[in-house]
Amino acid sequence: MNTTTSLAPGLLDEVHETQSAFRALLDALARPGEVRTLAPALPGVALGGAMARLLLTLCDEETPVWWQNSDPDLQHWLRFHTGATVAPHPAMASFAALTDVGSAPALADFAAGSAASPEFSSTLVIELPSLQGGTDMQWRGPGIEEQRRVALQGLSADFWRQWQVNHATFPQGVDIIFTCAEQIVGLPRTTRAVPLEEA
């Protein structure tokens, strides 16, 4: 037999579970920095609950997914349940599943869209060790009243420098959804983030 023996199930109640995941994602992107909670991990899927559910919710046959961890079981699982193909290069990805942000490609390597069609950019789903307890950053932008302190863990100073460049290329640029187990935090391209001591 082949990989079908290890194929994990998808969502049991697909319609309602994807609807509630999508609602949580909308809220997370509308209120950058606020933590939203999705549901527990799926049995047999080696991904956090939030990441697995977001991929099942967002992907379809028109959205190539770039995998940082090219586990054939995971790729086959997503293909089976959504029809999403594997993007051979980050720049061709509609969505990117990143599980180790330290060794991930630069933000500029992903699709930023064009000035005429900024919506053709990549959306990055990044699993972090924790959504709190990291370097304190000050976030400002649409959806944030005044400012918000966010302390995501596992992100380097270099990442935040790349993010400033990404923010400056608005309306182009990538959007990011940080996940940790069941929780998510949205970081849309409209959000400006600076270290707290510089603010």
Binding site: M1, G10, L12
Partner: protein, 154 residues
């Protein structure tokens, strides 16, 4: 199944999948009752209803044409031994797809394959062929032959 399977196996499987897809719910339920204890069945993709675009060469020129949409139901289950059974069937009868997927998974089990072929696939296949032949015989008298004269400018 994919490239790892020999093409002979693929065509054998597509044959039984086609038979299962055409079988009625009552036929499948009747055969299900004949089976004894089964391993645990896990639903990898619970039965779900969707739409398919039907295409056919219905025009005079032979180009593909979108005839219309049909509702289909599909399902994927896995048995205890790891075989994945899949089913697609026209209509919206979820139980029918579930049973067909179950039989597909069982047919991939070498220990059960021969018996299932004999008690399930072969009788259904014969019935379906018979029904098709009957229908052909019924409509054959209504066939009209058209003769076209050669056109002047041809």
């Amino acid at each position: 199944m994919t490239n790892k399977t020999a093409s002979g196996e693929v065509s054998a499987r597509s044959t039984w999948l086609a038979v299962l897809a055409r079988a009625s719910l009552s036929e499948l339920e009747a055969k299900r009752l004949l089976l004894g204890e089964l391993p645990v069945v896990e639903q990898v993709r619970p039965p779900e209803v969707g739409m398919l675009m039907l295409r056919g060469r219905v025009g005079g020129t032979g180009n593909p044409f979108n005839l219309g949409e049909a509702s289909v139901v599909r399902c994927a289950v896995r048995l205890g031994n790891g075989a994945l059974g899949v089913a697609y069937a026209l209509g919206r009868d979820k139980r029918r797809a579930e049973l067909a997927a179950l039989f597909d998974a069982l047919l991939q089990d070498p220990a059960r394959h021969q018996e299932l072929q004999r008690m399930l696939i072969q009788p259904l296949q014969a019935m379906q062929a018979q029904a098709r032949a009957n229908r052909r015989r019924e409509v054959a008298p209504s066939k009209v032959e058209f003769f076209t004269l050669v056109r002047g400018d041809a």
